[in-house]
Symmetry: C2
Subunit: 335 residues, 2 copies
């Protein structure tokens, strides 16, 4: 593997640097990881650390979704659910959130109030407390309504989950149908109307994760499917685990309206973001128990192989294709 | 006291909502506090909570300073020092930071690299680890180069500090001369050149706070002087403590060049932000010890009275004036 090169003076930030795909990884590898002395090996949805005799998870996300209000939610509940979900995927019980607002001069205070109310409702549903915050204002044209950062702290009572725990023979479970969030955002943004309004799947996944952990399902790894979609996340996890994965595309659940909209918009559902779905890696013997707890929308879509760390998909016509991370940015500002 | 009114549909975000002054307080009281079920009584630089048998501080700040690079620092070290200082003011030893970047399309990657290097150096100096992060990109004209959120977790080993602990008879100590950061930013932004380049005072205050705590100085409260300046912070603390304060303006240290620049720019140094200074409240009997530890730049500027919660200042000509919070926004995007 070649050494990541430092950026040259002429290089500029592109929209795709925020896509969660190839360019995001490159930015991480060349700019952030060397400086912050982190190892990309340990990358997960949050940092896990021990203070005293207690393990914690700590995570952060800034939300710049456009539009701020969309079918099924708004930037407020998205910002709470998203960070809660990152903590849950570490195997943590979310406890406390911070929120940092960047407001654009001229933004409606009544819209801000709606957003803040949604945050409150979402936090209550997740059982987390919004305990500290900050507000900054930038001039008109230097922001876009509102950006929200939420950072969160969770308590890890059982084993911490990590891509390193993925093993050959694990089954890959997806918790429900994919692609609703991205499709809802894009339809709303572009003013497309389809037969039915597609709503974002934004929801908290912590309750479900806690149920799985309480029922002592032997979870090896869990990851919520956000930027870059299912495909990008599987490739990342395969690389972190150093193992191959094979999925069967015909088994990946996609709602009919979402599939139709993706066809119309030229999107591959495997790369479209969700905000309320996750993939789970468990030994085959645990799959039945896991599926029962998650519910009827969950299904097994593939398995982990002892191969080199590539993800292959059996297509609907029976051929095999190698899945790569999202390249470019098909859906900017999705979250 | 009248009940805070909800905002009407026509109200818009103004620059002064981000000033740290009167309108910031109003936004907090009418929008954020009711939703987040926090009490403004408990407001401090961060939230303090207990998990297991351990007390923690948790804080967040988004940095939108303009320009990104200024004499004495840049947005990167500012973002690390600022959040570290907020933790230190809670009486916590800063441990972990998260960082969330919002990049504007077209921003120079080499500038980003300089900023990230400064963050690394500042974190190292403070003894904190940057453990988790997030990057988003917005279209050109929807951001302003880079905004950085840092959130932090600190461990409280001794007593937590709070405005509630301020007592009648406490002396008010300021750790050094005020107003350098705000003056440096404004001079740089407007292209003013004075006799001497005024550098920002951005620095970490955690080492000094830890030394004070280790030496068992009986600190009642500490607060770093940022947005709104010394005046606004004293008014906030007086209100939280429910006690009066009297300061002597002639004892407030202001560097000669800063004073000259403030006169030229029409600013009152009492309202100009610092990023490396704090006020400390200790019993009079502890003042000498505290001053010795902080060093020769520190001095006593006033005392806490049993009066109603107003701050009065003895002016240089010997008259008294009542100090209020910053009204409007004399220095937008200072941090």
């Amino acid at each position: 593997m070649s050494c990541p090169t430092m950026t040259s003076q002429t290089e500029k930030v592109l929209m795709a640097h925020g896509s969660g795909g190839t360019l995001s990884s490159q930015l991480l590898d060349t700019v952030f990881l060397p400086a912050f002395s982190l190892s990309s090996e340990s990358l997960h949805d949050g940092a896990i650390f021990t203070l005293g005799d207690q393990q914690f998870a700590f995570t952060t996300d800034t939300y710049v979704v456009n539009p701020l209000f969309f079918p099924g939610g708004n930037i407020g509940d998205l910002a709470v659910n998203g960070t809660v979900n990152d903590l849950a995927m570490c195997g943590a019980v979310p406890q406390f959130l911070s929120c940092g607002f960047v407001l654009e001069e001229g933004f409606d205070l009544s819209s801000l109030q709606r957003i803040v109310s949604s945050m409150q409702a979402a936090a209550q549903k997740c059982g987390v407390e919004l305990v500290t915050g900050d507000t900054k204002v930038v001039e008109r044209g230097k922001g876009d309504g509102v950006f929200i950062n939420t950072s969160g702290i969770g308590l890890i009572r059982g084993p911490a989950l990590s891509p390193k725990k993925i093993q050959t023979g694990d089954v890959v479970i997806v918790s429900g149908d994919i692609g609703r969030h991205g499709t809802a955002i894009l339809s709303e943004r572009e003013g497309f109307t389809f037969e039915s309004t597609i709503e974002s799947d934004t929801m908290e996944l912590s309750s479900m994760m806690q149920q799985l952990l309480k029922s002592q399902v032997d979870i090896h790894c869990a990851r919520d499917i956000t930027r870059g979609g299912l495909a990008t996340i599987l490739v990342e996890l395969a690389q972190s685990a150093g193992l191959g994965m094979a999925i069967d595309e015909s088994r990946v659940p996609v709602n009919g309206f979402v599939r139709g909209a993706c066809e119309f918009l030229g999107l591959d559902p495997l790369y479209v973001a969700c905000e309320g779905r996750f993939v789970l890696f468990v030994p085959a013997s645990e799959a039945k128990k896991a599926l029962q707890i998650i519910g009827p929308a969950a299904c097994i879509i593939g398995e982990v192989l002892s191969d080199s760390p590539f993800v292959t998909a059996k297509t609907s016509i029976g051929s095999q294709r190698i899945i790569d991370k999202l390249s470019g940015d098909q859906l900017p500002r999705i979250c």
